[in-house]
Symmetry: C4
Subunit: 251 residues, 4 copies
């Protein structure tokens, strides 16, 4: 079925107060990240509400690859749905609320199980910036060890407490790896969040290859800074492509 | 040709006594596992009959990527087709019958040659749980060495005797690797069997990468248990996605 | 453009004397091998003429991914087109003619640059049978070193002399690796040739992974023999799938 | 949306003086290189103007995967758009102008971030010709270290000065790797540029695999020369395939 079938279900919920543009972009970000194998049946992407910074928007309990604008909901920074409609939600939504609280600069958050990042989280090998597209990796990528925060074997961020703990480990960095789980990133815009997620995963893949080839010459600190100021301003060029690809795909 | 062409051949056989839902799900599981490169032209997936636990349902002799509901047949636990219609069947169907006999908890069985699992079976390197999506791997994955059960060079499970031997090696575990051949898994539901097969293969891929990066910090025993009780309850979210993808694909 | 558009160009040439079935199968084998990344813009697949063993059929000078039945031509065992129509042909067609001369049992020949095989040819690492689907690899895979037969830097089999040299190195084996070039295989049927090409490449991929994991437990001699007598009889199950996939694909 | 929708926007700009064939080929080269994962949302491909060697043609600021003939523009060898229409252009267009100045033989230039090349640039490991399809790699592939030409952390070729520096490092070679960035290649024709870009990346992938397998037997100097004179003359066979694939794809 083509995604554009003009059913009512494909309209945003009437209870949504964020702009139509933001709602569409969050739905689209789900599809783009799915198409680039950053998200699969799991993971989630949110954006801070564009009219009320004390809220964020995110899909209800749906696999990223099939999210439509009709699935987008609003949440308080305590990660509670607004309004409560008795629907099922991602149990790890606390990741989003707690990071939005701790990071006023964060306008979008992605939680993924992107495969190339898992081996770094599981071994503690440092993810470092291989090339100019992934300069943000050079700002530092801490690893979240959930065992430091509870001893019940929990791997999921199913409470405000664990969400806060994750936010603390993230600190002011763009991304945190979660040992045995995945990664979470916070970015100054939704488009940039998507761009960074895609290129962080590619950096990880290339770094694994490069480490087997020889001593890797990573980006220097000044190169990272210069790239962040320069290369990253080009991300709309890619967004236009990704949007067209995602929209044109049969779902 | 779209799969939905309303030909009679696409109706379930009139001789089927299992529910339409189960028949459809087994056909769908074939397609999903094919789309995720767990099955290719070979391998098979079965489910225990939902009205008679002394039977199971599985496709007749057809490559998984093109199985439709019309191909689903019923088998006794001796792995004989019911009724016998002179059709060709998978020579390794004994895998299914013998495991259903030995494991009353098994509601679905998958036999695959999933590529990422083959190197583990062939080297004896232990497959271990890399991340929360693959916690079931942490319950233990024995390796079946067929040379221990015959000395004629047979690699296929073409007899009840070899099926029983495989079932014994599997024991109460969720999966057994078969040296030089593939893997077989048994799960408490068909949906969970599909989910586990996909994430076991991804775990294998990631573990091979991680082992080259450094010392791997695997899930602990308590983490495995907690994930099995928690993460695995989310598999229907992925099933909805996989079903939509498989149904929408041109075959 | 769908491949089935009923243009005259899509009919076999009137000069073809082989059966329509064989012509169709050779065209289809091109597409299947392209879809499985065994062939790309280069490589070729032929079959011995089914009415005259002193001829073979193969595409004219066209990339495998877009070969249709209208491109199939007939050749003498001296690798000359029959009749000569002033068309362009693969410069390496001598591979085919010379092997058909040397190997009366060969009914189909594939010359490919299948990527996973190249590292084996270039390093001399022995390709060995990792699993039951690739048992034919266990019959031995010699490496053709073209430097042993000329010293002009030629890498292509552009003469009957080099074709004979390749045939000699192949001997009675199912496949020969060509250093810095690719591989050539000869099989008792076209369907089996396609099957073996796909699984030889997969074996190569898995063997590279396994060798990094630990000591590999390869198939024994008796296992190879048993698999050749057993597993390989199942290749029509896969052919039915591959045919459907290739036919249904937009080209 | 199919690319062929007959909108005015899909006609070449009226200000274009190059031949329609060249404009179409440059647009097509963008799509082909995108489809083969040489370009993604970034990178660019240009051709020297076929009526005025003091100009080149290239897309305006658009991601390669969605370039159409309507996006192609003309540039002076100082990399300035002709005429200036106030449009946005690739900031790294100086790569093209400066290499066309320095290399009268260059008829086409590709700047990419092809993933398999990045680890070679970042480690300094020598890219060497693994097989006959990639013989041009054997002419030598220097590495451009941008730190040798400025100390501001710049990674992009955003000035004529850096373009000239890159052209100098390239010298008379077919390709230069750019540390932490990508690669740039210059070729005697656009079709050959595309062919070489695709097979250089494949060579890189295969070389990484082969180096883990054992000592690699690379092409010798005379083999490189012979392949350049022979194998490379076959690139139109692949171009016909790639063109058909790119044209038939939904964008």
């Amino acid at each position: 079925m083509p995604r554009k079938s003009p059913t009512k279900a494909k309209q945003p919920s009437r209870l949504i107060t964020a702009s139509r543009e933001l709602v569409d972009d969050v739905a689209l970000a789900n599809l783009i990240l799915f198409d680039h194998e950053i998200l699969d049946g799991f993971g989630h992407v949110s954006a801070r509400h564009d009219k009320d910074p004390q809220k964020f928007v995110m899909s209800r309990y749906v696999a990223p690859g099939i999210v439509t604008r009709a699935d987008i909901r609003e949440f308080s920074l305590d990660s509670e749905p607004l309004p409560e409609r008795g629907e099922k939600h991602y149990s790890e939504r606390f990741i989003h609320g707690e990071i939005y609280k701790a990071r006023p600069d964060a306008m979008a958050i992605i939680h993924s199980h992107a495969p190339p990042l898992i081996p770094f989280g599981a071994t503690g090998a440092a993810l470092r910036p291989m090339y100019h597209m992934s300069a943000h990796v050079g700002l530092g990528v801490p690893i979240f060890e959930i065992r430091d925060f509870q001893n019940e074997g929990q791997m999921l961020i199913r409470s405000a407490y664990l969400g806060r703990s994750l936010a603390e480990t993230l600190g002011d960095k763009p991304m945190v790896l979660m040992r045995g789980h995945g990664a979470t990133s916070a970015a100054p815009s939704l488009h940039l969040a998507v761009y960074r997620a895609i290129y962080a995963a590619l950096n990880a893949r290339l770094q694994m290859e490069a480490m087997r080839l020889g001593e890797v010459n990573y980006l220097s600190e000044i190169e990272v800074e210069t790239c962040l100021a320069g290369v990253e301003t080009t991300n709309e060029r890619a967004w236009a492509l990704w949007k067209k690809e995602a929209a044109g795909k049969k779902r």
